[in-house]
């Protein structure tokens, strides 16, 4: 039995502690906004926040999150997150949309940590998130725009 906080609410999971958090969230909690892309922490589609830090949930195991606070795309709520999601829509970033939960989780973590990220900061924070539609051009623009709006 693993106890943790999920999107602000106490939660317990009665599954194999070796199960990746990704599959626990999807198959046992029923939150499907976090996507499966690779299973090897190579693509970032499954990114969630564990105690505020972006983590690949396919390589984070249920046994590792005892007592931690996990936030998924469904639980984003603060000003940074709302701004990022609004800018994402305003700039029409998504194409297929499959990787975008992970992109947004990484972008929110970046902007929470770094108010005015440089292009190099964006490369560092976002290079782990693949997008086969290659919406990168707009993702970069959206992060800069979100930083501007948050500063204003």
């Amino acid at each position: 039995m693993t106890k943790f906080t999920l999107n602000g609410t106490e939660h317990t999971l009665d599954v194999d502690p070796g199960m990746p958090l990704l599959w626990a969230l999807r198959d046992h909690v029923g939150l499907t906004g976090t996507k499966f892309g690779c299973g090897l922490a190579q693509c970032g589609a499954c990114t969630v926040h564990v105690d505020g830090v972006p983590m690949r949930s396919c390589q984070t195991f249920v046994g590792d999150i005892e007592g931690a606070s996990v936030t998924t795309i469904e639980g984003l709520s603060d000003k940074v997150a709302e701004t990022v999601q609004q800018v994402w829509a305003d700039l029409d970033v998504p194409q297929c949309g499959y990787c975008q939960s992970g992109q947004i989780m990484s972008a929110v973590a970046l902007l929470t940590e770094t108010q005015k990220p440089s292009d190099a900061d964006i490369d560092d924070a976002m290079a782990g998130n693949l997008c086969r539609c290659a919406t990168y051009h707009r993702i970069r623009a959206a992060i800069h725009e979100a930083a501007n709006r948050l500063e204003a």
């Binding site: 198959d27 029923g30 892309g37 190579q42 970033v93 297929c96 949309g97 490369d123 086969r132 707009r138």
Partner: protein, 746 residues
């Protein structure tokens, strides 16, 4: 109620061969007449059309005349909500938004209560006009092309009927009725579209409706219009097949043969079956499936299964051996000739100078972010539902019927949006879809089942862009004019052996040579030959298909010629494009916007390429530098002519994405095999572009009143040669082996 299904004919390959034109006839859409069907549906209005059965070429095998709600293009419900029923598949390229734009424009329903749903089951309604109406499918960047008149006509007809119904009810002239933003209005009266939907459905259908004049369009061509489905995609609310969850559903993962063509000899599943969570291990036509109560149990159970394979019919060559055979075949005459203008051999023999270059292209994986998947449920009443990325839904339904023995009329296809596709979801044997239903059958349909490929299944699952070699030769006269051009292409056929096999005529698979055989340049002696190889690696169309390699060789080789004769690459192309104004216009526009001919920053160079695919014209200029021996692309200026720009922002997005997709492929992507086994299993060894290598992309759309053509694919082909041409300027190195990470050193 299930759709009134059209049975696919047994002779589908022959029908496709007969009906599908090799090149779109841009005038065909507007020439086509329509007959109309209309139905009242639960207090609403549903509208569908049937192509007039005027000529043999437009007749269809469909048997249904009436347009029932599931056969329509638009449904208007009593509450005013409007559903666009899309014949075209959305894998992220925005086809649903495109079709919705056409409907919103002509119907005046606004966006607020609008949704889009994929439908299938009636070739007469949904057959792709670009494919001669022979079958329903999305491909070749044709979704807007085939929908342009259909969906506007449907919406305009609905609007006329709603107007008439309101005019009768209110006792006012129809000409005074307005419809905008989902409201029907007259003076101070206003009502939702839904209020008159039922009355409208009882009216006679107008035979002829007038479409809006282009200068009154508010949606089509609106650069500020954003995609209707974008917000859900920022909140994790867009459902994909991955997210399909049915009561009691089981999850299956596959064990596929390690070599293409191998089959299951024996299975030891005792350990797996003993593991908690594993429900069953079954052998099906494509391998072994581990069925479990959840994904993790299936994955861990899979590790406990031992399969012995019969590899007697398997491909056992590695890619190095395959490619060395392809290189040797370049020395032989081509097996078939795709184009033969003048006398190329004689002109080459008489030429003052001959340039020659060999090129080599690897197998490429689509590697879409959502690994392949499908779900199936057998209901108590004997109907079978199948969820998935059904890019060719009627064909898949037919295959499902063949695999399960369930009658076509009792199968319901749920067409899901997918996390990318790039061609991978349009596969003639319905691979993963057939797995889902075969597994369901193997477990006695005791529960709904979803088969979910892992990344390794997907990466090693074949259906790659084929590997190719090319040899190009150019003959130049004393003045540097190109008098001869020869292109020999060696590689596998995508279409042979499948439902599209009939398209291979006289030894030419058009998808092997497209982009080379229709070379636009004015060269008097020109031949394009093809040698089709026999390799057991399953291959498939991959975003822009033949143009993925033909654009590279033709545009990179032309640049070599320009250098050899001392001409500017843009000037040389324009000289040769006098009869091709749309190519010339995008070339000029991209060159001008990129500052072609002006000084560039120290250490940087510009490369240019132009290419037409699927009758959209794209030119790109890449600004490139070398950093520590690696290619760095800073900026790409792109000009595109796709006829009328229905969704300018989507066009821009597809050009941006096409550049990123194509750039990743030429820089680092390749599938290799050792002794028949694929070396790459995940994104660690197969390396698509990441954000740190993405250039700034600037898109310029040519103003046009031509019928719209597609944008999903045409942004891909020019980026490779544009970058290659810039690298050659910087380093003198003409990269002829892809990916460039390999070709730089060979």
């Amino acid at each position: 109620m299930l759709p009134n299904t059209t049975m696919l004919p047994e002779n589908l390959p022959e029908m496709i061969a007969k009906r599908v034109p090799q090149r779109l006839d841009l005038s065909s859409v507007s020439r086509r007449g329509f007959l109309l069907g209309v139905t009242a549906s639960a207090g609403g209005l549903a509208i569908g059309f049937r192509p007039a059965q005027a000529t043999e070429a437009t007749s269809t095998e469909a048997t249904s005349d009436a347009a029932n709600p599931l056969e329509a293009y638009i449904e208007i419900a009593e509450d005013g909500s409007v559903t666009v029923l899309s014949s075209q598949f959305d894998m992220g390229q925005g086809s649903y938004h495109g079709l919705a734009t056409l409907v919103v424009e002509e119907l005046g329903c606004g966006w607020e209560k609008l949704s889009v749903r994929g439908v299938n089951g009636n070739t007469a309604l949904y057959g792709n006009i670009a494919f001669g109406g022979a079958f329903q499918g999305s491909g070749g960047s044709t979704s807007i092309f085939t929908s342009w008149d259909r969906y506007r006509q449907a919406a305009a007809t609905a609007r006329a009927m709603l107007t008439q119904a309101a005019a009768q009810e209110w006792g006012v002239p129809a000409g005074e009725i307005t419809i905008a933003d989902g409201l029907i209005g007259h003076g101070d009266k206003a009502a939702s579209l839904g209020a008159f939907a039922a009355a409208a459905a009882k009216l006679p259908v107008p035979g002829d409706v007038t479409l809006k004049a282009p200068d009154t369009w508010t949606e089509i061509g609106n650069p500020d219009l954003k995609r209707y489905d974008r917000v859900g995609k920022t909140k994790g609310q867009q459902d994909f097949t991955l997210d399909v969850k049915l009561p009691g559903m089981l999850t299956a993962v596959m064990i596929h043969p390690p070599k293409f063509g191998a089959t299951v000899k024996s299975v030891d599943a005792a350990q797996a079956k003993a593991q908690p969570g594993v429900v069953d291990v079954v052998t099906i036509h494509r391998g072994v499936a581990v069925v479990a109560k959840d994904m993790w149990s299936a994955i861990t159970g899979r590790d406990l299964v031992t399969v012995e394979w019969d590899e007697s019919q398997a491909e056992t060559r590695g890619t190095e051996q395959i490619l060395s055979e392809y290189r040797a075949l370049l020395d032989q005459p081509p097996q078939a000739v795709a184009r033969n203008d003048g006398d190329t051999a004689a002109a080459l023999a008489a030429a003052d100078r001959v340039l020659e270059a060999d090129y080599e292209f690897p197998f490429l994986a689509h590697a879409a972010m959502e690994p392949l998947n499908a779900a199936a449920r057998m209901n108590a009443d004997g109907t079978l539902e199948v969820w998935g990325g059904h890019q060719m839904p009627d064909l898949y339904q037919h295959i499902v019927s063949q695999v399960t023995g369930v009658d076509m009329a009792n199968i319901r296809m749920h067409i899901m949006k997918t996390g990318g596709g790039f061609g991978r979801r349009a596969v003639g044997d319905a691979d993963v879809v057939s797995e889902a239903v075969a597994i369901g059958q193997a477990i006695g349909w005791k529960a709904p089942v979803k088969v979910q490929w892992t990344r390794e299944n997907d990466m090693r699952g074949g259906r790659y862009r084929p590997a190719y070699t090319h040899r190009l030769k150019a003959g130049l006269d004393k003045d540097g004019n190109i008098v001869a051009w020869e292109n020999h292409i060696v590689g596998q056929s995508i279409m042979a052996g499948g439902p599209f096999g009939g398209m291979v005529q006289n030894g030419i698979d058009p998808t092997s040579v497209e982009g080379a055989s229709n070379l636009p340049y004015a060269i008097p002696n020109l031949s394009v030959g093809l040698t089709t190889t026999d390799v057991k690696v399953p291959v498939l169309w991959w975003r822009s298909v033949g143009s993925t390699h033909t654009a590279y060789t033709t545009e990179a080789f032309l640049d070599e010629i320009a250098e050899a004769v001392g001409k500017d690459p843009v000037a040389l192309r324009l000289d040769l494009l006098k009869d091709h104004p749309r190519h010339a216009a995008v070339l000029k526009l991209a060159a001008e916007k990129a500052g072609w001919g002006k000084p560039v920053a120290e250490g940087r160079a510009l490369g240019i390429a132009v290419h037409e695919s699927f009758q959209s014209y794209v030119a790109q200029v890449a600004e490139v530098s070398m950093e520590d021996g690696e290619i760095r692309v800073h900026r790409v200026v792109c000009a595109v002519d796709c006829g009328i720009a229905v969704n300018p922002d989507t066009i821009k997005a597809q050009m941006e994405g096409g550049v990123g997709f194509g750039l990743g492929a030429i820089l680092r992507e390749e599938i290799t095999m050792t002794d028949g086994e694929v070396d790459q299993g995940n994104y660690d060894l197969y390396e698509p572009l990441r954000i740190d290598a993405m250039p700034v992309v600037e898109v310029h759309i040519v103003d046009s009143d031509a019928n719209p053509t597609g944008v999903g694919e045409p942004g891909v082909p020019p980026i490779g040669p544009a970058v290659a041409n810039a690298v050659a300027k910087l380093t003198g190195n003409r990269i002829r082996t892809l990916p460039m990470a390999k070709g730089m050193t060979t």
